[in-house]
Structures are given as structure tokens and as C-alpha cells.
């Protein structure tokens, strides 16, 4: 069963709720290797997104995702704003005009979003950034679908991969973002952006799964 517009909007709201719930936690992680604002910033942005939801065109998933992206760009600031903004903007372009998404549509949109983040931020896998959670998530959903998994299964594996990527950032020495200023002292800390990206994929698995499964 394809992902409906309604499910995508549920996902955005679930992500907003997860960010709100983990506001202190994300800020905590950012205070260890950054500047103690990631949770605050992302929460400010996602709350603004909630305010814009209804105003978005009520059938076009692409339009919805673009609204989310534009709102994040103009309300989050920091590195997180342009990066998450770009993620949603590119997903929106990929899903433009669609009122529901097949498994491959979802995988394409996510891949386009992550590619956008990499173009904007120039981070490689292993730089201790959100990329370390996002890239494995894309690969996982793709191979799951290729192996004939259901979308629900693919979303679950994608979220797991994001979580794995997130925990894998702990030993890493940051090469991008504010954490890179710490050099070796950035090791042994989990990257805040990778953590918020895991929340993004986890809530996707929770909300985009077929209602009748």
C-alpha cells in the first residue's frame, strides 16, 4: 500500500513531537561538542512547521514537503536550518505533484533529500554529522525494497540503519561542523544532528507504515 498525503503529514507531526520531546537531549549532546542549541533550534523550526501545515496544498505531497523545507530554512538557523531545509526541499522536488508515494517514490525522495544535504554541507560518511545517519538509511531502504521487503519492513530497516549510523558517530573525530573545532576531543560523543536524523527516520517508520499491517 502506498504512503498517503495524510501519512506524510502525520510523519511531519510525529517528527515535530519527537524533536519537542528530545529538545533537552539534543541540546545536551550539542553542548558537549557544539554550542548547546540543536534541540532548541530544531524545535523552534518544527513548531513553526506545525503552524504552516494546514496552509499547505492539501493533496500535493511535494508541496507539503517544500513548505516544511522553506519553513525550516527561515526559522531554524545554524547549520541545522539549511541542511534540514535542503533535505525537505529536495524531497519535495522529488515528490512534486504526487498525492501518494510508492516504496520507490519514498526511496527516491529520501535519496534526493540526502544528496541535497551532501551538496550543501560537503560532508562525507564518517565526518561525524547527520550524514552518518542519513546515508545508511537511504541504502537500507533501497536494498530492502530490492530484496522484495514490504515498505513497512523497508522503513523499519531504514530506521535501524539510521540508529546504527547515529551510534557509530560516538567514537568518530568530527571533520565537519562546530564539533570539528575540537579535533580529537570530539570523540566519545554522539553527534546531535545524527541523533535528530535518527528521530526523523524512526518517526517515518512509525507513521508511514501501512495502516492495515
Amino acid at each position: 500500500m502506498p504512503v498517503s498525503y495524510r501519512q506524510v503529514s502525520d510523519w511531519i507531526q510525529a517528527f515535530a513531537a519527537a524533536v519537542a520531546e528530545n529538545r533537552e537531549y539534543l541540546t545536551e549532546l550539542d553542548s558537549a561538542i557544539g554550542d548547546a542549541d540543536h534541540g532548541i533550534n530544531m524545535n523552534r523550526g518544527m513548531q513553526a512547521v506545525l503552524g504552516k501545515m494546514d496552509s499547505a496544498d492539501s493533496a500535493d505531497i511535494g508541496a507539503l514537503l517544500k513548505t516544511v523545507g522553506m519553513t525550516l530554512v527561515s526559522t531554524v538557523g545554524g547549520a541545522g536550518g539549511p541542511l534540514y531545509g535542503t533535505l525537505f526541499l529536495q524531497m519535495g522536488t522529488s515528490a512534486a505533484g504526487k498525492s501518494d508515494l510508492s516504496g520507490d517514490d519514498w526511496a527516491d525522495a529520501l535519496a534526493a533529500g540526502v544528496a541535497g544535504v551532501q551538496r550543501r554541507g560537503k560532508a562525507e560518511l564518517g565526518d561525524k554529522t547527520m550524514i552518518d545517519a542519513l546515508v545508511p538509511a537511504v541504502e537500507a531502504v533501497r536494498s530492502a525494497l530490492a530484496e522484495g521487503d514490504t515498505l513497512d519492513e523497508a522503513l523499519r530497516r531504514s530506521a535501524e540503519a539510521a540508529q546504527g549510523g547515529m551510534t557509530a558517530t560516538i567514537p568518530l573525530v568530527a571533520r565537519k561542523g562546530r564539533a570539528s573545532y575540537l579535533g580529537a576531543r570530539s570523540a566519545d560523543h554522539q553527534d546531535p544532528g545524527a541523533t535528530s536524523s535518527w528521530l526523523l527516520l524512526r518517526t517515518a517508520a512509525e507513521t508511514l507504515a501501512a495502516k492495515d499491517s
Partner: protein
């Protein structure tokens, strides 16, 4: 958290209202998106200077808007870079037909947001150049990382480029000058205490009763190393040695010495630091021909200081001496 604030969520908004009420003679404060702009902007035929960054570094940047310095500043949330829509609004507001220079501190957030803004401005046919300031020697530079942070040199670049823009120099020249200031500046800071982001409510990091952080960032990012408190002259050595070695500054050089308070360190201590820096440089044959001493690029209430040295030539000296009239920096006007 004890601060003179109301709701932590309103800190930036209310501080900007205060700025608007206090400096209506020189500044205009636009809201959503937040931009502090010269009252007489846009100045026809003059390159517009736009900077911006997280709030909490006052007087930088909003306090440097005015004749002879910035045309506009984009204040982000505390320690959070502003957003492209603010930068676009600022760019449009100050575009007097001669193009706009974005002075960007090298933080991923600032760089990415200013990049997005520059793309949007160019879409609207505004000529934009961006110069990234990265003078902090506390951070090892490398092609594979985010590179050095932009700190004290930003203040000097904004003043000097502002003077050049008042002379109606073209965008390319002002941008080149900005790169020259950055290339000839080096900085390093230290903290005696942490600082508390109002929305976070607790100190960004913890320092023991006798600990200091050498190489601190202006957002409370941990620095190079943690040490025990030492006499001011030793701390000056810890900051000034990597600065002097990096450029390098050499015997016979004339410099502008900028001794900056992180926000919570009072002037009496800055003058002691300046005295020790003066001797440190004199021992190396480096002459201080201009100075700036005070809280100009701060980290909320953090106690500590930073040192910035800019190697001067006659051009930079003359532009530094040119009149400036902003709430945060003023002379000759």
C-alpha cells in the same frame, strides 16, 4: 540561571526593541525577519555591508551598524546563525546599486545560510560578494574540516571595509580589502567561566574553581586545552605566542592590538592584559600603533578575554582612523 531577562524565548526580540528605542537616530530595526539597518539605507552608489550571526556577541553585529561601518546586521537567535530570509531582506535594504558585501564568520551555519541568501539575492539581480573570516588560531586549519573560526578580525574587517565603502570604493575592492584584513589578522581567546544560553538555562560547559579554557570559541565551544589558572602575563603568552607564530608577526611589524572581553571580564583586567601584551610584543620588536580594548565580540556573560592582532600598513591604518558612528564603535563623528 540569574539574568536580567523576561521570558528566555523573548531575549533577542526584546533586546532588539531596546536597540530600536535607544538608537532610532541612527538605526532602523526591521522585524520578521529581524534586521538592524542604517537609518539612511540604502545609500545610493555605496557598496552595502551586511554581516550577521548569532546573538549574544553584542555589540557585534547590530551595534556596529552606522556610518563608517555596517549598513545592516542580521541577528540570529542566541549563538545561532541567522536565516537566509533575514540576510536577503538585509541585502535588499542596503543595496544602493553598487552591490553588497556579506562579511561571514566561518561557522558552518553562518556560511551555509549566507550561501543560500547570496543565491536568492543573485536571483533578484543583486550583485553579492561574500568574504569568510577565519582568524582563530586555536583551531587547527585543514582542507578536510570546517576550518578556523571567525572571531575578533570580524570587528576589524567591518570597521575597515565600512570606511572603504564610505569612500565609494567598488565592491571588488572592498571585498579584496576584507580578505586582506582577514589574511593579516590572527586571534585566540580564553575563558575563566562558562556562559549560559538563556533558552538552555544552564552553563554550556563546566569549569572547575581553578580551571581555565584556552582557545575557547565565542559560542562556548570548548577550546584547545584546559589548564589551571595562571598569572595574566602567562595567559597572554599562551594566547599571543600561537598568534605571533602563525602569521608570523615579526620584529618591525606595526600592529593593531585588540584586547577583547568575553563579556563578564571588566576593563581593569583588560588593561592588565593589555599591559602584559604590550611587553610581550615589545620584547619581539612588534610595535602596537593602534589598539581597541573592551567588550566588542562577547559570549554573553562569559568571563575571559581574546587577543586579536592585525598587521597594519598605511592603507589599513588610515581606514581604521576614518570616522565611524555606531552605537558600539564611534570616533571622528
Amino acid at each position: 540561571m540569574k539574568k536580567l531577562i523576561n521570558d528566555p524565548a523573548d531575549v533577542v526580540k526584546e533586546a532588539l526593541q531596546g536597540v530600536a528605542e535607544a538608537h532610532a537616530d541612527r538605526l532602523r530595526v526591521m522585524t520578521d525577519p529581524n534586521v538592524v539597518v542604517r537609518a539612511d539605507a540604502p545609500v545610493q552608489g555605496k557598496v552595502g555591508l551586511v554581516s550577521g550571526g548569532g546573538s549574544g556577541h553584542e555589540p557585534m553585529h547590530g551595534g556596529f551598524v552606522g556610518v563608517g561601518m555596517l549598513d545592516a546586521a542580521c541577528p540570529g537567535e542566541v549563538f545561532t546563525s541567522p536565516t537566509p530570509d533575514q540576510m536577503l531582506a538585509a541585502t535588499k535594504a542596503v543595496n544602493g546599486g553598487a552591490g553588497v558585501l556579506h562579511i561571514v564568520k566561518n561557522y558552518t551555519g553562518d556560511v551555509l545560510n549566507f550561501e543560500m541568501a547570496a543565491d536568492l539575492a543573485r536571483d533578484e539581480k543583486i550583485e553579492v560578494e561574500a568574504v569568510v573570516i577565519d582568524d582563530d588560531v586555536a583551531v587547527q586549519d585543514s582542507l578536510y574540516t570546517a576550518g578556523r573560526r571567525g572571531v575578533g578580525a570580524t570587528v576589524l574587517a567591518e570597521k575597515i571595509c565600512g570606511a572603504a565603502a564610505e569612500q565609494r570604493r567598488p565592491l571588488g575592492e572592498v571585498a579584496e580589502l576584507c580578505r586582506k584584513v582577514n589574511a593579516n589578522s590572527r586571534s585566540m581567546g580564553m575563558a575563566l567561566t562558562s556562559c549560559t544560553v538563556p533558552a538552555a538555562g544552564k552553563p554550556t560547559f563546566e569549569l572547575g574553581a581553578t580551571e581555565i579554557e584556552i582557545g575557547i570559541g565565542i559560542h562556548g565551544e570548548p577550546g584547545r586545552e584546559r589548564r589551571q589558572i595562571a598569572p595574566a602575563r602567562d595567559i597572554v603568552g599562551m594566547l599571543a605566542t600561537p598568534i605571533v607564530d602563525d602569521l608570523p608577526f615579526q620584529s618591525g611589524d606595526r600592529v593593531l592590538a585588540f584586547v577583547n572581553s568575553m563579556g563578564g571580564t571588566p576593563l581593569i583586567e583588560l588593561y592588565i592584559v593589555y599591559n602584559d601584551l604590550y611587553r610581550f610584543l615589545a620584547d619581539r620588536g612588534i610595535e602596537i600603533s593602534r589598539n581597541l580594548i573592551g567588550p566588542y565580540i562577547t559570549s554573553l556573560e562569559m568571563q575571559g578575554c581574546s587577543i586579536t592582532l592585525l598587521k597594519l600598513d598605511d592603507e589599513l591604518t588610515a581606514l581604521w582612523d576614518a570616522p565611524v558612528n555606531t552605537p558600539g564603535l564611534r570616533w571622528g563623528a
